[in-house]
Assembly symmetry: C2
Homo-oligomer: 450 residues x 2
């Protein structure tokens, strides 16, 4: 979450843009947790100076934070892990990027580790849960001071194989992996990323692996694959929220016979341009559907201080314009509208290039009221769970995506219902609470390792 | 090799641009071999109609061949295997690319398989050696007709892990892998590509692996890693060739105190732009070397009918111009000049993004007469053999490449000599003949499998 000020000068709290903030909020609310995070906004920096029960906001140096966030975490690590480079041209590890590592990512991780150590002083028996690709080095800093602390790390984005990690210079990729292996548990959303992580530890560090246990430098780390879930009760409530109902009336007022929906951040990994092309190609192949089917693309603009992201939004807008009335593109942060659209879609398109899990593919079908069909990329983490009930697509195969959208639009009501119910049942049974329980069970397992 | 006509109308035979043609020519000359190849030039098509002892040139349909070569083999498969995509944007599997697969790559492979079957009719006991990424489907076509034929395949370019293969639609990547596993032996230049291939068979096909044996569909395939070598006697002769000596006098006449050399095709995988940047950065850091050190970049223009390649040459020329006199860039096909420059370099830069092996890193040090230092990318296949005697660089780390070039330029004479002699001894001992012998030993091994 992030703090700001409204027009009247009152403090506001906003929902984070990514799926991670959503998923963790539930967990944090249900346990006795201290949340340590970097201050991101000016108001965050004010909050950082106050005594916040359960929340510690770290005001990093502005320059260090900018290097950490806008050069290394996004886009360097994000681009490595989603395999988004144009390797003949980018990236360059030049003076700027090396400096951003040494004077950005490293000290930000160190400050986070120090705050964690201070909490461990206060409560030595606490378990520490590191989240995601921003904090790969912190666990090793903490481990150096607390050999017996219980440390777990969850990586919410894909983990590619060793070849992709050669985009990082040897010493840096070594420190990333060794940092993660300073934890007792390292978790991923899928068996695929789990497998890739174990292999990359073997290939890059020379670690040894025995099933899901990796041994390196005299320590053992449990590596797990637990897909995160949604919070059904939160979504049940949201469905009835006034703002959502208002948005839903707007969508209903102008809805075509059939609605193809996508809901994403404007991230190159989400593959919005190819999705638009596929929709256009589907209409070319089935002109009888023109005017009867529309694509609604709800895109939350993210990371607009990174040039690649600005360029990508421009490319999306160009592609959408070329399709005219057939596409309704909305670039903005409006979660109520997303939930309203979830209720209304006939086809939900999730065609990510690579995606750690993709919560939209769970939230959408759970909320949907029309037995809408999920078209799902084989490279989205959620495909391991939901693939059998979705229409699977290869994210690079625009032709097959066009056919998949058409297959979804023309699927029989019986088949749609069968698939939609199966997804809803799965998503309800494997919710965020179950995911949290698995994290805790992992801790019990590593505590009892011989 | 390729046939043409000179100004006087006489038939000419030219050396292929790639390392593969070089490497195989020695092998073909030393054994009783029928060479089956696609006709590439107009003169090739004339030769195809003649009765050529030992050479069968297949005149494929022009459209099918263009789809096969200019859409699928280069750049699709080449780009997949060297991980050169900008995945948020390219490739699209649209109508054009699907058509190029179905009506280009598939029928060209089928015709090649038919020619192979005709040879097997003539000599049923012959072993078949398929070469490289142009012929992934042919082995399965041959196997379907000849269950007992002895088939081996050598892949001369990198083999990436399963994630990178998702750039191909599922049915296509399945056919690529199943096609290769129709062979009795599949060979690569390194243990790294061998390992990646075994893993991708497991991940994509669900094959089982036991060490270097992969079992799929009731058949077993031996997967090997044998780095190819050079032909020392050919290079010994070339060093004394009149054309080479003439080129050498030219280089000597204008040589700086120290010469940094690169010799490559103008392929994005060769990483020429970053190499130039690194050289410029080195001069910025060590201005005392300005005027005393020059980079000579000898680039053989290749695949100039593919837009990505034309763009890349333009980017190389821009970067070189920005460095002024410090760089002597020559774009042209002049092997005599390359050999002359091999003799003269003080530092040889091989910084490929990814490279199956890289023969320059063996040819250059073998021919060199100044105890020149090899700066070698960790992602070049030859790094497995030569890394310990080279200055290793990460291909994306421009800053480290600048330091590596400086380290090589300032290395003590004793250290240079020690390393250069070690590389020459290795290259001489592991020549192309030894590589051929390993292929034959692999056949003996699979013949004797229980």
């Amino acid at each position: 979450m992030s703090y700001g000020r409204d027009a009247g000068g009152e403090r506001t709290v906003s929902r984070g843009g990514g799926g991670l903030a959503t998923a963790l909020r539930g967990l944090v609310e249900q346990h006795d947790v201290t949340w340590i995070a970097n201050a991101m906004t000016d108001e965050d920096r004010v909050v950082a100076d106050e005594d916040q029960r359960g929340t510690i906001l770290i005001a990093q140096g502005r320059d260090a934070y900018a290097r950490f966030y806008n050069v290394i975490a996004n886009p360097t690590l994000w681009f490595v892990q989603h395999m988004l480079w144009d390797l003949a041209r980018t990236p360059d590890w030049d003076n700027t990027r090396h400096d951003a590592w040494t004077n950005g990512y490293v000290p930000v991780n160190l400050r986070m580790a120090r705050a964690t150590l201070a909490e461990l002083d206060r409560d030595p028996s606490a378990a520490v849960f590191f989240q995601d690709y921003h904090l790969y080095l912190a666990p090793a800093f903490v481990r150096g001071e607390r050999p017996d602390a219980l440390l777990a790390h969850f990586v919410h984005i894909p983990w590619p194989e060793a070849d992709a990690w050669t985009v990082l210079p040897p010493a840096i990729r070594h420190d990333v992996l060794a940092g993660l292996l300073a934890n007792d548990v390292v978790g991923f959303h899928t068996r695929r990323w789990q497998r890739n992580f174990v292999r990359s530890c073997v290939d890059i560090l020379g670690a040894t692996a025995d099933g899901d246990i990796v041994e390196h430098d005299g320590r053992r780390t449990l590596v797990t694959g637990h897909p995160i879930g949604i919070d059904p009760s939160e979504l049940d409530e949201l469905k009835q929220d006034e703002n959502v109902l208002a948005r839903e009336r707007e969508i209903e007022a102008s809805r075509p016979d059939q609605l193809v929906l996508r809901v994403d951040r404007t991230d190159p990994s989400k593959n919005v341009v190819r999705g638009l092309r596929a929709f256009g190609l589907m209409l070319d192949r089935h002109p009888e559907l023109r005017g009867r089917v529309r694509m609604l693309a709800l895109l939350d603009p993210s990371r607009q201080d990174i040039p690649e992201y600005v360029d990508y939004v421009a490319a999306v807008e160009r592609e959408a314009r070329s399709l005219g009335d057939a596409v309704d593109l909305r670039v903005g942060d409006d979660f109520a509208r997303s939930v309203a659209a979830y209720k209304q879609f006939d086809v939900l398109l999730v065609n990510a290039v690579f995606d750690g899990l993709n919560l939209v593919s769970k939230e959408g079908p759970y909320v949907n009221e029309r037995d809408g069909v999920l078209v799902l990329s084989e490279n989205a983490g959620a495909h391991e769970e939901l693939g059998e009930w979705a229409v699977s697509v290869n994210p690079f195969d625009v032709s097959a995506q066009a056919d998949a959208i058409h297959e979804a639009l023309t699927m029989s009501a019986t088949e749609r219902r069968h698939r939609a119910e199966a997804i809803r049942a799965h998503v309800r049974a494997h919710d965020v609470g179950a995911w949290g329980d698995m994290q805790l069970a992992d801790l019990d397992r590593v505590r009892s390792l011989p």
